[in-house]
Amino acid sequence: MSKWIDVCSVDDLQKNSGICALVEGEQVAIFYMADNSIYAINNYDPFGKVHVLSRGMIGDIKGEPMVSSPLYKQHFNLKTGVCFEDETVSVASYGIRIEGDRVEVNLNGVAK
């Protein structure tokens, strides 16, 4: 079932960077891109085995939005959560939207 959960204010977002929110016990990394698009994936780095992806640098690989792990620099597709270097590895990706001045996350949703 799709359920949108209020997470924070738009002002809490950091342009060109990431933040982390706690959503029903899940650590959700939220990224606010230069073009105002917004993505949410799980904060867990499956290579480093710690919750740090929100602190990675963002950008694109051939037009696909990505975050680079702050630990060992693997890249994850922000739309799908799939690792660019090893497609067998991925993190969960979530639905996210801005409603008015609020940011909402849907743990069962898929990214745009």
């Binding site: 939220i30 073009d35 919750h51 602190r55 640098m57 990505m66």
Partner: protein, 844 residues
């Protein structure tokens, strides 16, 4: 009239379907009218990943049949109908529903049945064989009224079945007849670790249990009674104790059957009837049957080749396998049991991280015969290449299973593989096939997968595939490209010049004018670094924040557990007793691990991101400032105690070190920079191993440049001698600014110097003789950086909006509960993964 022959395929499982796909991809696809029988109600699906049905995958997602495959290729499929009679004399097949079809060629792909041990009570209610999607539906139904489930059989499929039971929320047991799990593929050590890992996941594993009967239970539906007198109560029993070839139809038809079961085939996969082939698990070749798909696929290819008039042979199959069992990596190659006479064994066991590796090599230590990997199967692609191609092992074969240390590389480069090397064993793709696809214009991993199918099965070969691709592209001269990344077709030096000449102050402006896309961590960091070197603005300014690596973003060094280390500056390694006490008190208050660094200062580890501003507030109050340990910038100026105290000291090395550190602190550079000053030629400060090294001599200061320690140590070159302090500082200003302007990203001064045309003499001519007439500019630039220095921590904690970013959750004051420490030698250290799980469980 059609002169096509009729080809009947009995069975549409994984191998039957693979045969059809291979046939339709071949030149002879139009030679046959193809008819296939499929006893199940749905066409071929991925039996290997059956348990994913419970983890939420639908039958459609498990399907191996592309939509419209049968229609498009004109294949008639009889679903839910089973061939029951083969009349070999009249060459017809009769089905259960009464269809009679005349054939010219027949292919048997009837697969196998789950073996149900002949135990009294084995057919009680809710005792199910684990084999088909229908079985899974029965299981689902039975699970509704069950609390406990048991799997009979601890092989590959049995462990998959256990995962399925867990996914259905049953208390799960695995009952293994033999002494270890996956007995064919693993040795005792590997199986032991696997058992431990499976048990950690909450599955109980019973070993050496021979079930003698199944009777009514006291608490549960059933009670399994074992030969050793013990019992197990369970509501649901799954049989996954191996497979038996389905050869009943072949037997009825009078085809020759092997003693141990299976339709006998020759090297062409032909049965005892010249018009009937058998492939997959129903076939017996050389008295062996094969319970994996890869050999079945190889047989399918052989038959297609035979039908096309080729002379391919089935030559047996590699039974190596790699899989993830409930998240545990397991791989087995060749003969893991060392059954060949004289074979030698290497083992590596890491109890802390839960890793077991075993190599079996030939008597002469040259050829890999088998391997077992549990807990970390990343070595599988390379090891299987050694095995499949009988490549000579390195002189120290154990290096293949020992953890990689420093730069001792033992990898098998893709260049070392012959063209015949099989890269993808699922689809039998050789390196030769991959190379010809690359020659044909394929330049991406995705393209290779689509073109050759390599890497689209189990995926285990993808890393190797990638390295073959890279290697071939490089050989083809594709990319000897100095662009820093896909977003900027420039070198770092080009970008620096653009920033300087066009007075560009933001990444956005540079990207808009000279780049494309939205950037990546390479170009953002590089440009962020250039802007900081040139303009020296606050690195966390809104425009620059997204350009900083996590260390710069949080002005601290991220460690492996996601916490940070904090390093206040101690210029020249000098610190007052009050300063030391303050650091001690702060470390104690926040529970930090402290260590003295090689740069003569104190590093404090284990700070959570939310603690950083609090810690820094206290450090600043105690008179400290940022040590820039997180930045690509000046780190430390190390010094010996010098002439003030030392009997041999020639000059005051500490005073100079403090002055230099204060001058250059905060300078952002292509890589970190380290200095040292020694008070005499005894060189206690090890200045010759630094980027900038200074040694006091009778006539003044001697300057050494471009040394470093690290992975590839290099002594600094003597650059100028007997300098007075003023000249010394001028030279250092010029060398450093020239380095900052012209080096590549992440290039230390040593490599910069070695790559410079003209080397040391050229650098001297620029810096001392002012050959390029830029010295004044270089000094000016450095003076601007010196004049605009700020302690980034002081700026940060004075700005509430910046401090706000230092918390783990934007919407909660909770901490990351996965950060857990344990004590060692009187201080904290990060808990390793096992300890973390244990402690978390205790807390819960």
């Amino acid at each position: 009239m059609s002169n096509k022959q009729t080809l009947v395929v009995i069975g549409n499982g994984m191998v039957g379907q693979n045969f059809l796909v291979s046939l339709m991809a071949s030149d002879i696809k139009d030679n046959y009218d193809v008819i296939t029988f499929c006893e199940e109600s749905i066409p071929a699906y991925d039996r290997v990943h059956l348990s994913e049905y419970f983890a939420g995958k639908s039958a459609a997602e498990l399907s191996l049949v592309e939509e419209g495959f049968f229609e498009k290729n004109g294949i008639t499929i009889h679903l839910g109908d089973k061939a029951t009679v083969i009349d070999r004399a009249n060459k017809t097949v009769t089905s259960e529903k009464g269809k009679v079809i005349a054939y010219d060629k027949l292919v048997l792909a009837t697969g196998s049945n789950a073996f149900v041990p002949p135990i009294p009570g084995n057919d009680r209610e809710n005792c199910i064989a684990y084999r088909t999607i229908d079985d899974l539906d029965d299981m689902k139904e039975a699970a509704k009224t069950s609390k406990v489930g048991a799997v009979v059989g601890g092989g590959l499929l049995g462990l998959e079945a256990a995962k399925a039971l867990q996914d259905l929320d049953l208390v799960t047991h695995v009952v293994q007849f033999g002494p270890r799990l996956m007995s064919a593929q693993l040795d005792d050590g590997g199986a032991g670790l696997l058992k431990q890992k499976i048990e950690e996941l909450g599955v109980s594993v019973l070993i050496d249990k021979n079930t003698i009967k199944i009777v009514d239970g006291d608490v549960c539906k059933h009670k399994m009674v074992f030969s050793d007198g013990t019992e197990l109560e369970t509501d649901l029993i799954l049989y996954s104790a191996g497979i038996r070839p389905r050869d009943d139809l072949a037997t009825l038809s009078g085809l020759k059957i092997a003693n141990r079961g299976g339709v006998i085939i020759d090297d062409h996969c032909l049965t005892s009837d010249e018009n009937i082939y058998a492939i997959g698990e129903c076939a017996s070749w050389n008295d062996q049957t094969f319970g994996l798909v890869a050999p079945g696929y190889a047989m399918a290819r052989t038959v297609v080749n035979q039908l096309a008039g080729g002379d391919a042979f089935f030559t047996g199959a590699d039974m190596s396998t790699k899989l993830k069992l409930n998240g545990v990596d397991v791989a087995s190659i060749g003969d893991p049991h060392a059954s060949a006479p004289g074979s030698l064994v290497y083992t590596y066991q890491n109890g802390v991280e839960g890793i077991y590796k075993r190599l079996v090599v030939s008597k002469n230590n040259k050829v890999l015969l088998g391997a077992v990997l549990v807990g970390d199967a990343s070595g599988y692609p390379i090891l299987s290449q050694y095995f499949l191609n009988a490549i000579d092992l390195p002189s120290n074969p154990d290096s293949l299973i020992l953890p990689a240390r420093s730069d001792a590389s033992v990898g098998l480069g893709p260049d070392a593989l012959p063209a015949s090397a099989q890269i993808c064993s699922c689809f039998d793709v050789t390196k030769g096939a991959i190379c010809s696809s690359i020659e044909g214009g394929c330049t991406t991993l995705g393209g290779l997968k689509a073109d050759t199918k390599a890497g689209t099965g189990c995926g285990g070969c993808v890393p190797l595939l990638k390295s073959v691709l890279d290697c071939e592209l490089e050989k083809a001269g594709f990319e000897v490209n100095t662009d820093i990344c896909e977003h900027f077709a420039f070198t770092r030096q080009d970008l620096y010049n653009l920033v300087m000449v066009e007075e560009i102050k933001t990444f956005h402006e540079l990207l808009t004018k000279h780049g494309s896309g939205s950037g990546c961590e390479i170009c953002k960091q590089t440009v962020g670094n250039i802007l900081a070197s040139y303009w020296n603005e606050y690195v966390l300014k809104e425009d620059h924040l997204g350009l900083q690596d996590t260390n710069d973003t949080f002005l601290a060094n991220m460690q492996k557990d996601g916490t940070y280390s904090v390093v206040p500056r101690m210029t020249g390694g000098e610190v007052t007793p009050e300063g030391l006490i303050a650091i001690g008190q702060i470390a104690k208050k926040y529970g930090l691990y402290t260590k003295v660094t090689g740069g003569q200062r104190v590093d404090m580890f284990g700070a959570r991101v939310d603690q950083l501003p609090l810690i820094w507030q206290e450090l600043i109050d105690a008179g400290f400032e940022s040590g820039h340990a997180y930045g690509k910038s000046l780190r430390t100026v190390k010094s010996c105690v010098g002439s003030t105290w030392c009997r041999f000291g020639v000059d005051d090395s500490v005073a100079l070190a403090v002055e230099l550190e204060n001058r250059y602190k905060g300078l952002r550079s292509p890589h970190k920079i380290k200095f040292a000053v020694s008070g005499c030629t005894r060189e206690c400060a090890e200045a010759q191993s630094k980027d900038i090294g200074i040694i006091a001599v009778e006539g003044g200061w001697n300057l050494y440049v471009c040394g470093n320690g690290g992975m590839k140590p290099r002594h600094g070159d003597l650059f100028a001698t007997n300098l007075d302090k003023e000249t010394l500082i001028k030279y250092i200003d010029r060398v450093l600014t020239f380095y900052v302007q012209t080096a590549d990203r992440m290039q230390r001064t040593s490599v910069w110097m070695e790559n410079m045309e003209g080397g040391l003499d050229y650098l001297k001519s620029v810096v001392i003789d002012d050959k390029l007439a830029i010295c004044e500019k270089l000094e000016e630039q450095m003076q601007r950086v010196v004049d605009t220095y700020q302690c980034e921590w002081k700026t940060t904690i004075a700005d509430e909006s910046k401090v706000k970013r230092f918390r783990h959750f934007v919407n909660s004051d909770k901490h990351d509960e996965n950060i857990i420490f344990v004590e060692e030698r009187g201080q904290v250290r990060p808990a390793n993964i096992e300890e973390r799980e244990l402690l978390k469980a205790e807390i819960a």
